[in-house]
Amino acid sequence: MTGLILKDFLILRKTLRSYLLMLAIYVAVAFLGYWSASFVGGFMMVMVSMLPMNVFAYDKQAKWDVYGLSLPVGRTKTVAARYLAVLIMFAASAVLTTVVSVALNIAGRMEESLGEYLLACTVCAVLAMLVNAMLLPFLYKFGPERARMMFFGVMGVIVLLIVAFLLPLGGLEWIKSLEIAEPTFAQAAVIPAIAALAGAALLALSFLLSRHFYGTKDL
């Protein structure tokens, strides 16, 4: 199974390198104070959300699945390897985001408090995890091209629903008018842990669905 996880990272090598380069530029710009540090966290989560789709697309291009099923790994372990790879990607980006956040905070380049910022990042991470938990079974069932279309379709619908909800209330002005208390240090520490557990539970459910789709797939 470790071989398959390694394979996913090796085929993403170039993509990861370019993401890291972009991250370095964004962090540098944030250090210079040209844009908010929260942009960096958001960027990380968007990027990490795209990685699984890239892996599926690369595998499809190489017709890897046919070869992969000839290996002594089994369908369940093949799916498990992909999910572990996704979890590692999320964990790595969470660690990186935290490190960057702390550094930006120490440098005094953060408008928000560190707790508030990390909480916002956690919300982003949970959303990204939710998106991936939804997306992965689609990828197994329909393949990367069709799943990508469906994914953007679902995202479009979600955005429209949010806009439809916010517009009658006054849009972004309404959000700004909300008085949300700054989280305590304890809240800032506990909420990410609960969110991570919830994300993991969602991924577990998603795994069962993906295993079912892949287990019945005829290549």
């Binding site: 394979k7 170039k14 190489a62 290996l71 790994v73």
Partner: protein, 282 residues
């Protein structure tokens, strides 16, 4: 001698195509050549054997056990290179050495040297022939007992093909080893195969020892009038043109004794296929 492959009534049904039922045995220490036109079901047969595509019916035994249990001892080369273009040649080893417990790093590097493949090379830079060599090196480096090869020699130059065929012969010198190879290059199969299985439109038309097959069938070249006199029991298929009439005949020895005046020439696997696919069936 044990059978490395045993298929009993293997069927794979699609909406517009049905493979089988196929009954097949490949004994240890032998090479079976799988021939047939495009779309005859050769790749489907190999995929069904491995469970890549799920058979509709039938039983598959590889190396005396269920396919999933045997996979660690199987090397596979399908009709394409399945390693992503974003990998390097040496990455294949990093991945597969973690998949196969018996992976032999030295052997993989020997094959890379033999095939002129640099470890640092990106797979997207490799030609089709070089990619097939990489697939072969990957299939052989974990010291498998059974090789399943689908058009593995396609795209290779004759010199390399000859070297690879020698590898195959050395591989089956061990009685526990066997190879099933599908190929359109029937001359390769005539060189190395012990058995030939001929798939046509999903059905196994012929399956026999290669020598016996080539000895028992022959190509009769004669006039239309001569052909009319021949017992239909000998004739498998006929091809007629403006200038000649040819027939594929069975029981060549008996035929020669029965019709000493008529000339029967040896038949090649290519001719056998063309007669069966394009000839008028007797």
């Amino acid at each position: 001698m044990t059978n490395c492959i045993e298929l009993k009534g293997l069927v794979k049904q699609y909406k517009t195509f049905t493979l089988g039922p196929v009954d097949l045995k490949v004994p240890g220490g032998s090479i079976m050549g799988l021939i047939g036109e495009n779309g005859a079901g050769k790749t489907t047969l190999i995929k069904s054997m491995l469970g890549i595509t799920r058979p509709t019916a039938g039983a598959v035994s590889l190396l005396g056990t269920a396919p999933d249990r045997a996979k660690a001892d199987i090397g596979i080369v399908l009709d394409d290179c399945f390693f992503s273009e974003y990998l390097r040649v040496r990455d294949v080893e990093s991945v597969l050495s973690r998949v196969f417990k018996t992976w032999d790093k030295g052997l993989y590097r020997d094959y890379l040297d033999k095939f002129g493949l640099a470890g640092s090379k990106n797979i997207r830079e490799l030609s089709r022939g070089m990619r097939m060599k990489l697939s072969l090196a990957a299939a052989l480096a974990h010291r498998p007992k059974l090789l399943l090869l689908d058009e593995a020699t396609a795209g290779l130059d004759p010199v390399v093909r000859d070297e690879i065929l020698d590898e195959f012969l050395a591989f089956v010198s061990d009685d526990d080893h066997a190879i099933l190879i599908s190929s359109h290059i029937t001359s390769d199969l005539e060189k190395v195969a012990d058995y030939i299985a001929y798939l046509h439109q999903g059905r196994l038309l012929l399956c026999d020892e290669k020598d016996r097959l080539l000895e028992s069938y022959g190509r009769l070249v004669c006039t239309r009038e001569d052909l009319e006199l021949v017992d239909r029991g000998y004739i498998v298929a006929v091809r007629r043109s403006q200038y000649s009439t040819e027939a594929l005949i069975r029981r060549k020895g008996d035929f020669r004794r029965a019709y000493p005046r008529l000339t029967v020439e040896p038949v090649t696997l290519d001719e056998l296929m063309v007669f069966i696919v394009k000839g008028e069936q007797a």
